[in-house]
Amino acid sequence: MLPPSPPKADTADPQLMLALWFVRRLSLLLPDAERRGWLAEWNAELISRHDELLARGTAPGMAGLHVMFEAAGAVRDALYLTTHGFRLSNLLQDVALSLRSLRKRPGFTVTAIATLALGIGANTALFSVVRGVLLRPFPYQEPDRVVQLLGHRAGEEEGSSNVSYPNLMDIKREAAGLASVAGLSSWRPALTGDEPEVLAGATVSWDYFDVLGVRPAAGRFFLQENEGEGREPAVVISHQLWTKRYGADPDLMGRTVSVNNTSYLVLGVAPSGFEGPRLISFEGEQPEIWRTPWFEAADWFRSGRSWKGVARLGPGVGRPAVQAEVSAVMSRLAELYPEENSDRVITLQPLRESIVGQTRSALYVLFGAVGLVLLIACVNVANLFTGRMLERHDELLVRNALGASHGRLVAHLFAESLAISVIGGGLGILLAYGSVGAIVGLAGTWLPRPEAIAVDGWVLVFSAAIAAGTAVAFGLVPALRLLRGARLAAVSSTRGVGALGRRASLVRRTLVLGQIATTVVLVIAAGLLLQTFRNLNGVELGVERDGVLTADLHGAAWWDLEPDAAAARYRDILDGVAGLPGVRGAGAIDVLPLADNYSCDGVTPLDQPPPAPGEGRCAEVRSATPGVIEALGMTLVSGRALEWRDGPEADGTMVISERAGEMFWPGESALGKRAEIHSDTFAVVGIVADVLHFGPLSAVEPMIFLPAAQEPWNGIARGLSLVVSGEPVVESMGGEIRAVVGSVEPLIAVERIRPLSSLLAATVGGPRLRATLLAVFAGLALTLALVGVVGVMTQAVARRRREIGIRIALGASPRTATGLVLGEGARITALGLALGLLAAAGLTRLLEAFVFGVSPLDARIMVSGALLVCTLSLVASWLPARRAARIDPVEALRAD
């Protein structure tokens, strides 16, 4: 009972026309059986309503708006009717059907799933890193109000950012805009007693935990009375230490533990997962034990800048206002203490910036790169799906003719792409689970907050969103496009498909061209970063890279020794180690080179005019035993190295670096000159070549090596790090060294046995991670793009089968036939390369901050990157092109 076709609406209201057009479009979604009736009803209702409103005197514009609004409601009606038959059983049927049809085409299915798994996996892994490091909030109360107080010389932004404790406490007292200020400084104590254990620790102001706004997991934190001269020694310990060493014993609070052979009262336990602000470095370890200063701030060295400052902004105050206040306080302090404070400024920086600021841009660049890989993967999957839909065109037409509504067909095709996306996404997430650990490992100490990096709920939401997005893009969109084309094709079947195929093939070639261009960019970027990594490894550090083993010598054995006895014990150990086969030399030092730890101790040359106020300089001062300079492979420029005769009773001696000589005795030989360091006097007996103490990316710092025996409390009377050099085999001699140390004193714990090269590796963690990840991404992109090229060329051969058949029939050689197809591949490749090189020239600028010793526009890398992609792409074109030569003209012409 269909009505006659509706009379044309006589009114020419464009809004009504728009509404009617919209409904007509919408009706295409409906099953054929229902379409006419549905359209007639909506037409009649909209026209009647429009007439009615005009008859009642409504303004034409308003009437038009009204019908447009009502027409929008037709979407729900149409969707209801389209999905009317779409019950759960149908859905399950669709899924079962699609799984069956996917199983029948394992090549297509496996390729699509693997491509998506790689794309989604790489993105998920990197997003977990971005989420953990950059997006996850710090576990403090109002973390955005916590700032770091960066100390530096006016006009110099670089350097250690350390501040002096007295200055910090003066700021705390005088700057009203700061709710509180705390200092922290590294402390590496040993839990002494039955099982000596060396810990990362920190000395912190009593209200340090209040500044961060965290609550104790047990007991309490420090009170004001716990800080200052004569305070009872007390510690707060980490949750991990509490559970691991003390079995989470609640009675530990109020008891004492032996730290460095002194009794410390345990006050409380930091919350589980407490993240310190990472301003002091223990090669990535977080402090496990905290104590308070044992001195009065006012009496402490104002020139001793070994503290980091953190503060919490007062309620309702902005950072700029507080900054002005702090600067004013610093100007007053400069007048009061010109010698220490002239030229010193303090800048407030959000703590988040201090911790993650340096990694942010690098992570975003990597994230952008991995996003490009996903795009390339998506193009491949889209091409696979389009190809498959064209193949199934006839099947779909038949099913449509047999009464399957377009809605049903779309649902079926979508179920197929959904199945692939879900499986691909699931595998991708597994891949990410597996690779996040590797990423964190590669990063060394470069990535802050490694413990915050995990595949968590947000990461899963992210991956699910990507998977869903790809399913819609590759299933729904091509399916809808195909069905639109299907109406055409139904009329004259093969010609229709041909037209559709030609359009799809043009789109496909354009997409593959884009893939090649993107791959060129990624390959060049990877080339630049790999070159950077190589350059860094080639930098002359001033110390030996290979054949050097280091180990920490810790334990209770040192604490009650007189300096002479301690020196003798070190001498026994070092002689014993040096006597091992393959060992050339051995020594010990308090801070190993390449372990990131600034000290900046004040140095006052004695035979120079006293420095102008504010001109006092500091150097990196180390305590070292004889043999260490040789074992580290440093070059002695003049004088002598440290020897055992530089003992506790002898006159103070030191070996300095060339840079230290130029700094403290400019223009003259430093040999024999004297300087005051740590309130003692030392004379220069030797000069060594400069050492890049903080890794290849750091600046040259002035270095001073004091005899450990003459500096007992920094040197010989505590655990130092052992350095052993010799044949390459030395790097694996940890067991022998442990035995030697044990034979001298069984109570010494030999910990962290590792080659010096691993410390170097940690300092280049950032460049190494960036180079590795980009190389992996470029490799993925290249593989996927080549798959894309093979696909598009295979299709080209199929498409031109007839033409090539005719040509061969007319006498063209197989070589000419191959050349025809190969030419098409070459054109795509050439355009892709040109586009890629242009894009690379623009985009590598983003890498400016991450390259070292190579220009972002390095011609050699650009050309070799392009050549690599070009060669492989031509090979990938040639493989399918060969098939053109084998086309049998009879077969080709008989088809159709």
């Binding site: 209702e45 009647s48 007439d51 009502e70 729900r76 009606d77 009717l81």
Partner: protein
């Protein structure tokens, strides 16, 4: 509509509006105050469950009004059986007790 099924408020409103004389889809929208996106799917559902039936209005009616033929909805016996429940549901609502916002029908 199976007796065990819960009747939604839009369904109740629509059944009682149709029983009181609303005939076309857009009339039912006016009578119930519901938007087209709610009314039409509900009409399809009620019709598929035989609570309503629809037919095209007579050509003469459309011709005299100068518009295309509209689809007319009528309540069936099965629909009638649901009316008491629909009215009871509406009566239970404060401020809607039987008093209708129905426009005078042009039926």
């Amino acid at each position: 509509m199976a007796s065990g099924q819960r009747m939604t408020l839009p369904t109740a409103l629509m059944l009682s509006a149709i029983a009181e004389g609303a005939r076309y889809g857009f009339d039912i929208m006016d009578a119930t105050g519901l938007p087209s996106g709610t009314v039409y799917p509900a009409l399809r559902r009620l019709e598929s469950r035989d609570c309503l039936r629809s037919r095209w209005e007579a050509a003469g009616v459309a011709l005299s009004a100068g518009r295309p033929r509209r689809r007319v909805y009528e309540i069936t016996k099965a629909g009638d059986a649901l009316l008491p429940a629909a009215r009871a549901k509406l009566a239970a609502l404060p401020g809607l007790s039987g008093g209708r916002v129905l426009r005078p029908s042009e039926g």
